[in-house]
């Protein structure tokens, strides 16, 4: 059902955990299945220098969280902000159609964490454009 990449990320999820005093925090739940994900960002000089998350969900949800965290770690905020769930799924070698909503959860958690960061640092938002 899952690609080797999904299984590998599910078995060894990267960047699991929480960040105390995170610069950005987002928590989202899937209306489809009840999965839940929270993401913590540490930001320095316009870059995501650290990312952690915790996920309640299926294999696809956990692997998507892990992959999303790997993609954005070290990236400038404006690059991370453009991450889509399709990119997360593609990086995992694809997800079954019925599991695509799990990759949306990861993208949404990132979006929520970035919103939180921009809310706390309105000056940073300007740099994006």
């Amino acid at each position: 059902m899952y690609t080797d990449t999904v299984i590998e990320h599910f078995s060894n999820p990267r960047n699991v955990g929480i960040i105390e005093n995170a610069d950005g925090y987002g928590k989202v739940g899937s209306p489809v299945c009840g999965d839940l994900m929270e993401m913590y960002l540490k930001v320095s000089d316009g870059r995501i220098v650290d990312v952690k998350y915790r996920t309640f969900g299926c294999g696809a949800a956990i692997a998507s969280s892990s992959m999303a965290s790997e993609i954005i770690k070290g990236q400038p905020l404006e690059v991370a902000a453009r991450l889509t769930n399709e990119q997360v799924a593609a990086a995992l070698g694809g997800l079954p159609e019925v599991k695509m909503h799990c990759s949306v959860l990861a993208a949404d958690a990132l979006r929520a964490a970035l919103e939180d960061y921009y809310h706390k640092h309105p000056e940073a938002r300007g740099e994006e454009h």
Binding site: F10, V32, V98
Partner: protein, 398 residues
Amino acid sequence: MVSTASMAPSTYVYLDHAATTAVDPRVVEAMLPYWGEKYGNPSSFCRLSDPSRVAMSESRTTVAEILGAGPTEIIFTSCGTESDNMALRGVAFANRGRGRHIITIPIEHHAVGNTCAQLEREFGFKITYVPVDRWGLVDPDDIARAITDETVLISVMYANNEVGTIEPIAEIGNIAHAKGVFFHTDAVQAGGGLPLNVDDLHVDLLSLSGHKFYAPKGVGVLYIRQGTKLLPTQTGGGQERHLRAGTENVPYIVGLATALKLAYDGLGSETARLTALRDRMIRGVLQNIPDAYLTGHPTQRLPNSASFVFRGIEGESILLQLDLAGVAASSGSACTAGEEGASHVLTGMGIETSLARGSLRLTLGRENTESDVDYVLSVLPGIVRNLRAMSPLYASQG
């Protein structure tokens, strides 16, 4: 995350017998002549059809004897779902002049649940779902109170497929018959493991599925008590006493009868063996994993079924980790587009949705041993711990 790979047994531990079973080699052996050698159509009149007709007749008698029924009361179908559909729709349509009310419970298999829902939505029937308690048990008195002048059918499963709870079928059957209401039981999960005498159970209709008791997938049974008014839902030729048209699947029917006989010949000792393994599993899980709960009734449950919920984690990820560790299991939790995450069985028993998401079902079978159970008990606590460590819904123990 999985630190158990080195401990994995050389063979895969299959603990998903409620999903399906491997076909018994003795069953395969019994089926073999009916492919290329004795392939005649039982309805034909040529010398080739005689062996098929004899095989059909013997198979029907074998099944009838195990059910304590007459051979003419046994109908062979393509699966348990077809049997359920035939029973519900057949009785509902044939008796709609008398009334359009059906009573069932909210934790039935979808084969019953979705058929009832369609009868309500498309055909104007009224369905009463009598609630079950936290063990999944229905109170027969509640069934009795739900019966009206319009009631034509009661359908309550013999044993639940997800949590193993055995319903008080005989008591419900007594109530139904006292009120002149037909009574159907979906015995798909009970078949091969629990007594099936239809007079003891007081049922008018009973569904079975071959692949749950070491027969192939694609063959089932519907027992229909003589005098039960039922409209055929599959029309055509005169097979199965005009109740289920279509050329009979002779090899599969031979396989089902052979498998059912094997199961009931050795029932007593196998039940005792499985019950001991089941209770070892239940004790081990509850003692070694915090915030783990047994689902279903503690004692009034299928001898081979151990089912749990684990707080803070999700069922599919438990299954994936178990699979990586070499164990096949199942979960009522579905995380697929268009399906709700939590099982309707667990929520129907009053288990909160987030807890119900963390469900695991381990169902034992003939080839399982004590070492299989002990292997699961050696890997499962670590799997649960690891998944909880990354769950935002589980407060870590420091």
